[in-house]
Symmetry: C2
Subunit: 201 residues, 2 copies
């Protein structure tokens, strides 16, 4: 592949990513992707042969960025409280930089459940290590005993929800965009506090 070709391919992937995330698979239009990439539809098919192929390329790229940081942190040798603190901070930072990805993933998960498993296959995240650490620290009287599959889900849920349900939350609490930005910022310490308070003895 020539340099020009590589540039075009990256341009297509970036544009496709934006459009698929904003509109979903069915809602996305090859024409719009082509327009944003500054090329024409024919060239899309030259590079990716079909819409489905293009989506697969985008989705696997997105999916590949979802878990590694999480995995690395969970497997580190930090204490549980520090681990939780860092996890929330890193996770919220990533969400702020890509606020539409969770809704995109949920949408894909829901409307095309089959096509998903091939990307995840456990994703390498091993909750057993976390479970072990929890039991260890609980045994030493540092925290109360909790189940990893609940703790982890609770934390992630609290981080993600304000991004995927923003219009509802923003409306119920009557915030404008500026206030919502501030609300999202304030959740970092709130979530950390909420979790640490819950698992104290």
């Amino acid at each position: 592949m020539t340099i020009a070709g590589e540039h075009t391919e990256n341009q297509i992937l970036t544009s496709a990513r934006d459009v698929f995330i904003a509109k979903g698979y069915e809602g996305a239009r090859m024409q719009e992707i082509a327009d944003r990439a500054g090329i024409n539809k024919a060239l899309l098919h030259y590079y990716f042969r079909s819409k489905e192929n293009l989506f697969d390329a985008v989705f696997s790229e997105v999916a590949s960025h979802l878990f590694p940081a999480m995995k690395q942190l969970l497997e580190s040798d930090l204490g549980l409280k520090e681990k939780i603190t860092f996890f929330v901070k890193i996770y919220l930072k990533a969400l702020n930089e890509n606020p539409y990805i969770p809704a995109f993933v949920i949408n894909t998960l829901n409307t095309n459940p089959d096509g998903f498993l091939k990307y995840i296959k456990k994703a390498g995240v091993n909750p057993l290590l976390l479970q072990k650490q929890i039991e260890d620290e609980a045994g030493r009287g540092l925290i109360r005993a909790v189940k990893a599959e609940h703790l982890l889900v609770n934390i992630i849920a609290m981080c993600i929800f304000p991004f995927v349900a923003r219009p509802i939350v923003q409306n119920i609490f009557e915030m404008n965009d500026e206030e919502y930005r501030f609300y999202l910022e304030s959740r970092e310490t709130e979530i950390i506090d909420f979790v640490l308070k819950s698992i104290r003895l």
Copy 2:
């Protein structure tokens, strides 16, 4: 409208609801809705004139069921701990009966944000009452002080997440369908416990 017509209209709405929830707006096909309703496409347009109209009818019907129970409970005169306990129980029960609705709402929210506000417009849920109750009970030394807009979002997030991200959660923790059903059941007491533990003094 005749009785036959009313039956047909309900049949259409039910079928449309199922298809829209499973496939999203763009992915839904008028043909499939007609097939499930046991009629033909022309009759869909006779009753609802356009796909968008039909979707609006379905969505407003779904949206109208989302908040009333929540609102009623939040405005009741129960103590905060009882309120939280009942809220989680009622909410999880509703989710178990309609496990695909949250993903549907999120999908609609994300790909068609404009069309949403006309249905919510504050939905009548008033968080000020909850805020007041929290401050009252915190002042009386029953719980620690928390912000209503964080507490409520945290609770709802923890309830909804295992439904909208089921494939990911199920895969990471390596559960089969039976185990996941059990996991969802176990979350009721876990969430209640998690929250009450967090807001204790």
